[in-house]
Amino acid sequence: MNPPPAKVLGTSRREFLSQLGGGLGGVALAWFLDQNVLRGGRTPLPAAVPDFVPRAGSQFRPRAKRVIQLFMNGGASPMDTFDYKPELIRRHGQKFDPGDGRRVEAATSVPGMVMKSPFEWRQHGQCGRWVSSVLPCMAESVDDLAFLMSMTSRTNVHGPASYLMNTGSLLSGFPCMGSWLSYGLGRITDSLPSFVVLPDPRGLPYNQKGNFSSGFLPVGHQGTVFNTAGNELIAHLHAPSGNPLAIPAAEREGRELLASLNRRHQAAHETDLRLEGRIEAYELAARMQLSAPEAMDLEGETPATRQLYGMDQPVTADYGRRCLLARRLIERGVRFVQVWSGAGGASGNWDNHGSIARELPPIAAATDRPIAGLLRDLRARGLLEDTLVLWNTEFGRMPFTQGSDGRDHNGGTFVGWMAGAGVRAGVAYGESDPWAWQAGPGAVSTYDFHATVLHLLGLDHTKVAVYHNGVSRRLTDVHGEVIRAVLA
């Protein structure tokens, strides 16, 4: 890599436009492309800024336009869901010894004895994927999915691992994938945020809002939390009800008068684009006040649809509702929706230290039918053509016991899957070692995973970069290989 050329100055207009969210995808894109060129990249600047088609470092067309990421918070156990390990049955109850004198350690406990999965396993679909009995509905969809059987993390600790999976860094303060996509691709709609997060109503995941942060990217690209449980859907969408100033007529007239005062002020400062931007932002805000509640209103959905998502059963009602909301949001132009299963903390999530047999089935059941329903619904509506669906977690779990029959954290290997736009359905890439302790051939780092997602959205992960505090930063740091085997 050559040192960068002397810096050419004068980016404020582009910078400003990118902060506004682009309005049109290409504008923001042009900015970082531009930055990249300035930093010594080789991609020439596009001759003209396109209207929408993302051109990010792109010599290729995007296969996906939008993403729904289903995030299993806490570290979903691979050897109890998708990664069938007969070796664990053979060695059940023995001391875990991977051989070669390799050191065995666990983050929060003393390593126990080898433990087989307590669940039934069967092969499913044309592809013959093994799935355990905790995910019977997803098992029926395996032919739609591309599995990454041996993803790896660099840590066994929730905080850093959640950051790594979401932002590509072990440390806090970096932009998450949704923010990079929002920043890189711009908005599809003006009426809704481009990146929406639907947390578990029981609470935020590990790292709380840190996982949805835009880091050093402009704050407009951070994940907007739609709070499906509380009384306020989106922070600040409306004045608190009952406030003496919350009077629709006054607010409407006020906005008009504000616009006219702002225009008058702007006339004296024509070159300052921020002023025009603020005027536009208030217009868009008024639009969002109408469109966000509409997107969240499930009145128009048929009983059959609700049932498909499991909304008729108490166990699946919540996650089903949020999956359905995710579909409605992407239909309306949201770029990236993240649907979390499980809050932070020691229970009610996928962090099954205490007992796999007792703790895993309920959280798996809460998501199983909703996720299968979502896939089916997206396909039926033709949305799977340009929507990428991701199923992820921050790390796996140990092949040996913690306490009586729990499992401790394991960044060594874990499973994720992708489906939809641009994904080769029915494949499984990579494999873990015989115990699902460490990655085996075809290991996929979080960087590789992010590179692949960006690729599917038409972005070259090596070129989506932003200079910050002395370093040119990417979602994939200095790593990342696109996993071609899972591309259609």
Binding site: V8, Q19, S162, S172, Y282
Partner: protein, 886 residues
């Protein structure tokens, strides 16, 4: 159209990069076009450089802005609040030739100046008041560092001292213990509690966590003080800048003896000295320093221990423990409890995950002052107990005694003969079922705990006392065998904590003890004695800061010596290379890059050496960095735009000679006085220019890099909030102290609490102080402030982003603070002024710094007539003219 070229000399290969060159005071330039440049621009050093550069393009400085705009600009710049309309009028009418200088001085002397400028520094060092990450715990004692900053700016502490205090104030200024709070800088950033406290000490994840934690400390110091990004060199030699890996790990070694923790200090120098010497001696004892041995083994030393042993034995004899016979036993979760002949209770049968044992003892009991719980070893238990867990341990979450119909007996000040690290017996009385007393690794031995009664207890005949042993922590950490006793001995009734090896020695007659035994006992006794003496001192103050000495926090314990640091191959923990000695960067050739410290020097000496390196007169980076930082906050952009990166990937100076001139002037002439630097910049014609565009320059330098006008700046989050409070009349001027929590706080699922900003009473005592006193929650920041680009404290933020978003519009329009203060503002205007017309006029003067035009006044009056003045206030708070300063 030609692109404007800004070029720093010597950027070509082979030359020393501009930032590393030694500082020399440049000569003033001569201005080429004599007729174009106004006379006054030739009087001021800043203007000379700026005007000379403009003249090369055939341009000149813009005319001075009108006074109304200038005072508004100045008030937000120095104080972060708008000027009072009366102040504006007075200044506009002030005909004295030095009216401007007087105004600048008045503002610089206002305490609001420190509140404004401390916040810039807090951004730079990413200060917040929680740990961040998944266990985002509150740091109750972070705020003293914020107060240190406010006071330091107001007192105009010279820059050299300012930096030295923050890096090594404890070592360099021992006579001023209050500056201990300055060490908050090193600890300002996030801390990964899971990795550094909760996971196992013997894991690679723990070691990685430590390197990354120090990495943040290094990054904070080097980016902030010398505008150099060193962190790339964690994995490889820096690609662009002369920062090799060995320099990076030399910096790691500087901080290898400190951690982020609550650090004790005292304001009284005498007391501070006493506490610090005791702590220092305790460290020396902890390290078992060879030259202390003779003293410990001397007759005097051994005599003190013998005296103590005698006291102990007498106390034990006096205690008269009466073992209580259980009358009734119960387990709530299915353990089977039975009594043995010695009145011990044995637990067997199934092993539930958690359990509560209840033991009833029949009265009468008279004048009881303490209860003793013995946990007993037993061959039938795993590892011989006393616990039922496979490792022989137990976890007693809570111990309680009730009498009669459930009246709870007040227990306090418990002691045990042994406490597991992080699980002391205090945890059995803390009413937190998630914490517990344990004895690992001292399993297979008897242990005991004593719980004192707040007042002596009597249980009548026919009544009973019920002992409740909750064991909820961990999994199946149940007690296997135990016994309860009572005493009437006057308080205090306490057990001395003793590790197993010490019990062995103490149980031996003195004459049979070997020298090694006596020495071992002496080390233990001396440490214990120092702990006691420290406990007897008045409670210290505490600041969350870099600390080498602190109360253990779970498995985070102070290291007696700096931890060894190795150069890590590719930054991988599994590839440790050569050991690293403390030092700094070799790229500044005029300074020694290795500190060559004696191996046994205290860790603080390392930090002091770094502080010396950073503040050396020859450190060209330091002086260029700080004048550029201050310039940025006055002009909205640095002379070098990348405030934290003067390396080759960073920007180049737009006015290199001016930068160097300012650096030398600040260092030598102003002796590092911030206030003198502010005064210099603010009295320049460059700063006082109009912000209106000039057509010629705008076409070729639309970014205004050459400063042909002033930049119009958007108010930052704090200035907007503080301005709203100031104009409504509600701004509370109380300074300092613990931060205002503008949210409802509830227990969370795990460590991180639940925080709800919507449930907060506007107008209460915690709602109206300046924004610098808001509590800063890392992973749960205030959505109103976030929408206005207030950083969350995860990243160093030398330059705030300046976004325009829909969320921001919604926040300013709908946030409860804005709505409440709109009503308050309207109320104030109604009280102070005769009618709506005057009220609207005054409202505009407050918000825009000018009266409304007749058209504006009329439109606003019509709106007020229909919807009230409060809606006008809300509208003004949302207007572009309010949020921008020209």
């Amino acid at each position: 159209m030609a692109t404007l070229r800004i070029w720093a000399a010597g950027d070509g290969s082979g030359d020393v990069h501009w930032a590393y060159r030694p500082l020399a005071r440049p000569a003033f330039p001569s201005i080429e076009d004599s007729q174009n440049t106004a006379h006054e621009a030739r009087q001021h050093p800043v203007d000379l450089f700026v005007a000379a550069r403009l003249a090369k393009e055939g341009w000149q400085l813009a005319p001075r802005a009108e006074r109304r705009l200038l005072i508004r600009r100045l008030a937000y710049d120095l104080l972060g609040v708008p000027p009072n309309p009366r102040e504006i009028d007075d200044f506009v009418a002030d005909e004295r030739p030095d009216a401007w200088e007087r105004l600048v001085d008045r503002y610089l002397n206002s305490p609001e100046y420190g509140e404004r400028w401390a916040r810039h520094w807090m951004d730079a060092v990413h200060f917040a008041e929680t740990h961040g990450n998944d266990q985002d715990r509150i740091r109750t004692n972070a705020w003293p560092y914020r107060d240190y900053l406010v006071n330091a700016f107001n007192a105009d502490v010279p820059y050299t001292q300012f930096i030295q205090e923050q890096i090594a104030g404890d070592v360099l200024f021992p006579e001023k213990p209050a500056v201990t709070a300055a060490l908050g800088m090193i600890a300002a950033g996030p801390w990964d509690e899971s990795s550094l406290r909760d996971i196992r000490e013997d894991t690679l994840d723990r070691q990685i966590g430590r390197y990354l934690d120090r990495d943040d400390m290094i990054g904070t110091v080097m980016a902030t003080v010398i505008s150099t990004s060193v962190q790339c060199a964690r994995c490889h030699d820096h690609k662009f800048d002369p920062v090799p890996q060995r320099d990076y790990y030399a910096l790691q070694a500087v901080f290898a003896g400190v951690e982020r923790a609550d650090r004790a200090y005292d304001l009284d120098p005498g007391l501070h000295h006493e506490r610090q010497s005791l702590l220092q001696r305790k460290r020396a004892i902890g390290r078992k320093e060879k030259d202390l041995e003779a003293e410990l083994l001397s007759a005097a030393g051994q005599g003190r221990i013998a005296h103590w042993e005698l006291e102990q034995r007498e106390a034990e004899r006096a205690a008269h423990w009466q073992v209580l016979k259980p009358a009734q036993l119960a387990s709530t979760e299915g353990s089977i409890l039975s009594t043995e002949t010695d009145h011990a209770v044995v637990s067997g049968g199934p092993t539930p995950v958690r359990d509560t044992y209840r033991v009833a003892v029949a009265g009468p009991l008279t004048g009881i002052t303490a209860f003793r719980l013995e946990v007993l070893k037993d061959r039938r238990l795993p590892q011989h107990g006393p616990g039922r867990q496979t490792n022989g341990n137990f976890h007693l979450s809570e111990f309680a005694v009730t009498i009669g119909s459930g009246v709870r007996v007040a227990l306090e000040d418990p002691t045990a003969d042994f406490n597991q690290e992080g699980s002391s017996v205090q945890k059995a009385l803390d009413k937190d079922e998630k914490t517990a007393w344990g004895i690992h690794p001292e399993v297979g031995k008897n242990h005991a705990a004593v719980f004192q009664l707040a007042t002596p207890l009597t249980v009548a005949a026919g009544e009973s006392a019920v002992f409740e042993l909750k064991q909820f922590h961990g999994e199946s950490h149940l007690i296997g065998r135990f016994r309860i006793a009572a005493t009437t001995q006057p308080r205090p009734v306490r057990l001395a904590q003793r590790p197993g090896n010490i019990s062995r020695i103490l149980d031996m007659p003195v004459t049979e003890r070997s020298t090694a035994d006596r020495l071992e006992l002496s080390w233990w006794w001396a440490e214990r004695d120092l702990t006691d003496r420290l406990k007897k001192l008045p409670l210290p103050r505490s600041v969350y800061a870099a600390a080498s000495e602190f109360e253990p926090n779970g498995s985070q314990v102070p290291s007696l010596r700096p931890r060894p640091i190795h150069v890590l191959g590719r930054g991988e923990i599994t590839r440790p290379g050569a050991a690293a000695d403390p030092g700094a960067l070799a790229c500044l050739v005029s300074l020694r890059s290795r500190f060559d410290l004696p191996l046994d020097a205290e860790e603080g000496v390392r930090r002091a050496a770094l502080a010396g390196w950073l503040t050396a007169l020859e450190n060209s980076l330091t002086w260029r960095s700080i004048v550029n930082r201050v310039w940025h906050h006055h002009f909205g952009r640095g002379l070098v735009e990348t405030l934290n990166d003067f390396g080759r990937a960073g920007a180049i100076p737009s006015h290199p000679e001016l930068l160097d001139w300012l650096a030398v002037w600040f260092r030598d002439d102003a002796a590092g006085s911030f206030k003198r630097l502010h005064r210099l910049l603010l009295t320049s014609a460059t700063w006082q220019q109009s912000a209106t565009a000039q057509s010629g320059a705008a076409a070729r330098d639309s970014d205004n890099r050459l400063l042909w006008r002033m930049n119009a700046l958007r108010l930052d989050a704090e200035a907007i909030r503080d301005a709203v409070l100031r104009v409504s009349g509600d701004l509370d001027s109380r300074m300092g102290g613990p931060s205002d929590r503008q949210f409802e706080l509830k227990a969370g699922i795990h460590v991180t609490p639940r925080v709800d900003y919507t449930v907060f009473s506007q107008g209460g005592p915690e709602s109206c102080r300046r924004s610098v006193y808001r509590f800063l929650f890392r992973t749960l920041p205030d959505p109103f402030m976030s929408a206005l680009d207030c950083p969350a404290g995860d990243q160093l933020v030398p330059v705030r982003s300046n976004s325009v978003t829909v969320q921001q519009a919604l926040a300013l329009w709908n946030d409860p603070l804005v709505l409440h203060q709109s009503l308050r503002f309207a109320g104030r205007l109604g009280r102070e002024l005769p009618g709506p017309e005057a009220a609207i006029r005054r409202a505009c003067e407050w918000c825009w710094g000018r009266p409304p035009t007749p058209d504006e006044a009329e439109a606003l009056a019509r709106y007020a007539e229909r919807h009230g003045v409060a809606q006008v206030a809300r509208l003004l708070f949302n207007s572009n003219e309010f949020v921008f300063v020209n």
